[in-house]
């Protein structure tokens, strides 16, 4: 069975410094992996996805993630944090072929705070 673990429930960075949000996954098959972002009182928005093409995936707003099969990780990074990045981030795994939506497993979320 698939699972996803977000290693930090809270991360705090200063504006202009790098962001690292960590995610490890467990999957029986070659997984599809996603990061979603949720701003306060809003729905979730897809940030980026990995579906077995390039291992380094670029998303919106300068975020990227690298799929590392040997480490079963899919960490989210950004070189320089902006105040508007303050939000909650969810790592999501699907191990159904093509990422069938009925089998998405969400991590518990990492809340990112950005200090001025």
């Amino acid at each position: 069975a698939q699972s996803v673990t977000q290693l930090d429930s809270h991360v705090s960075v200063s504006e202009g410094t790098p962001v690292l949000l960590r995610c490890n996954y467990s999957s029986s098959y070659s997984p599809s992996l996603f990061w979603y972002v949720q701003h306060p009182n809003k729905g979730l928005q897809l940030l980026l996805k990995y579906t077995s093409a390039a291992t380094l995936v670029k998303g919106i707003n300068g975020f990227e993630a690298e799929f590392k099969k040997s480490e079963t990780s899919f960490h989210l990074t950004k070189p320089s944090a902006h105040m508007s990045d303050a939000a909650e981030y969810f790592c999501v795994v699907s191990d159904s072929p093509g990422g069938s939506q009925g089998n998405l497993i969400f991590g518990k979320g990492t809340k990112l705070s950005v200090k001025p």
Binding site: Y36, G43, T51, G98, G99, L104, F106
Partner: protein
């Protein structure tokens, strides 16, 4: 852009009363989902639909039922609300078939007293 409207956005009700949450989409996307979000649990799938009158259970379906009589509307019903169903409920649509890419509504906050 896919448009999703959830109603009501906020509701307070009492234990034992029925509650229906509505999700309306403005486009003809086949897949629709209901999730609940609780602190420390991320999002958990309640039910989903892959077409009119075609629905299936998710991870936490007990105490919930759904209906989809039209492509654009997906209803979530709590037949007899309990305090454990206090949560934020999100509707989502699958923009493309079998890709895991979801577009979410803004949520319905339900409080059961």
């Amino acid at each position: 852009d896919a448009g999703i409207t959830q109603s009501p956005r906020h509701k307070v009700t009492e234990t034992g009363t029925p509650v229906t949450l509505r999700c309306h989409q403005t486009e003809n996307h086949r897949y629709m989902y209901w999730y609940r979000q609780d602190p420390g649990h991320g999002l958990r799938l309640i039910h989903y639909s892959y077409g009119v009158k075609d629905t299936d259970k998710g991870e936490v379906s007990d105490g919930y039922s759904v209906s989809r009589s039209k492509t654009e509307d997906f209803l979530l019903t709590l037949e007899s609300a309990t305090s454990s169903q206090t949560s934020v409920y999100f509707c989502a649509i699958g923009l493309y078939a079998n890709t895991g890419e979801l577009f979410f509504g803004e949520g319905s906050r339900l409080t059961v007293l």
